[in-house]
């Protein structure tokens, strides 16, 4: 499609975004505001659920993936733009599919986030924009997958 865009997005490469340790305090703080189910706010009660211990709201894990994704985009994974026209600019996301919270994220877990850009195509209804599909993942300190999702994002970029 475009060599410059393939290089810029690092198509097909599993990019490490960073590692975060989920503390009990932040798990409870997030959950008290958005998802105060027992297993996210009360370690005692969590022990008696299917989870067996205090664990992060799935939305907390997703939001943290986004935090590391944004930070990495600005710093570590930034690749200079060598194509024609202006540098591609990330816009909003239309949604995602096949999100799986494969395993719980427990208090004290160290979670490493990944992103793999898969492909891109023009958006017919919006000239000058493309939609980039990607896979987001999170893996715990034992190497177990805890989150995966097939995401998409609109990017202002022109295809030759």
């Amino acid at each position: 499609m475009s060599q410059a865009l393939d290089t810029y997005f690092r198509i097909g490469e599993r990019i490490e975004l960073g590692t975060h340790e989920f503390t009990a305090d932040e798990i409870v703080e997030f959950a008290r505001e958005f998802d105060p189910q027992d297993f996210h706010v009360d370690a005692e009660k969590a022990a008696h659920t299917l989870f067996g211990g205090l664990c992060a709201s799935g939305w907390h894990t997703c939001a943290m993936w986004m935090r590391y994704n944004c930070a990495a985009r600005e710093r570590t994974i930034r690749i200079p733009w060598h194509g024609e026209g202006s540098e591609p600019e990330f816009g909003p996301s239309p949604g995602f599919r096949n999100l799986r919270w494969v395993k719980p994220v427990y208090a004290g877990d160290r979670i490493t986030f990944f992103r793999t850009n898969i492909e891109y195509r023009p958006v017919r209804s919006r000239p000058g924009w493309i939609v980039l599909t990607l896979k987001g993942e999170a893996v715990n300190q034992n190497g177990d997958l805890v989150l995966e999702m097939e995401n998409a994002v609109l990017v202002r970029a022109s295809l030759p």
């Binding site: 505001e33 958005f34 998802d35 105060p36 189910q37 297993f39 659920t49 299917l50 989870f51 709201s57 799935g58 939305w59 997703c62 939001a63 943290m64 986004m66 935090r67 944004c70 990330f90 816009g91 909003p92 996301s93 239309p94 949604g95 995602f96 599919r97 096949n98 999100l99 799986r100 919270w101 719980p104 999702m149 609109l154």
Partner: protein
């Protein structure tokens, strides 16, 4: 005082559970985005207006989290919920802008008892979040696990 606990048996196909209403302020949007999604359109009114979103807009993950709170208050709070394994599909249909008032509902699409764990059932929902104009801003399909009240009664609907 006894509190009725909603269990797997209490969900029926086609049942709709309405949400309350919550107003999303500019302060809420910026606070969430500063922590998790610090892109200009989620932090700054001007940048939001210049973006496709047309104003200071909530991070999509913020909208998801707000949905979660509304669903919690509507039917998860006093229930046997054991969490959800994932989301088959989610669409951020429209931006959520500062000042928007969100509500919505969850509708039961299907339900079944797990073969591997006969004391737990999976209830699949279609959740919809709408704004004050009745426009859909978020739509998702997601199964949630609920313990059975009477596992010995089996998988009777």
């Amino acid at each position: 005082m006894t509190q009725t606990i909603r269990a797997y048996e209490d969900f029926t196909e086609g049942m709709t559970l309405p949400f309350g209403t919550v107003k999303v302020t500019a302060e809420d949007i910026v606070r969430f985005a500063s922590q998790f999604d610090p892109q200009p359109m989620h932090l700054d009114e001007e940048a939001g207006r210049a973006s496709l979103l047309g104003g200071l807009a909530a991070s999509g993950w913020h909208t998801c989290s707000i949905f979660m709170r509304l669903a919690y208050e509507a039917f998860l709070k006093h229930s046997t919920s054991q969490g959800g394994p994932g989301i088959s599909e989610l669409s951020w249909k429209r931006p959520v802008l500062a000042g928007d008032e969100l509500s919505g509902s969850s509708t039961v699409l299907s339900k079944r008892v797990l073969r591997s764990r006969p004391n737990v059932g999976l209830v699949t929902f279609r959740h919809v979040l709408t704004n004050q104009r009745g426009e859909t801003v978020l739509e998702l399909e997601n199964p949630i696990l609920f313990a059975l009240r009477e596992p010995e009664a089996g998988a009777a609907p």
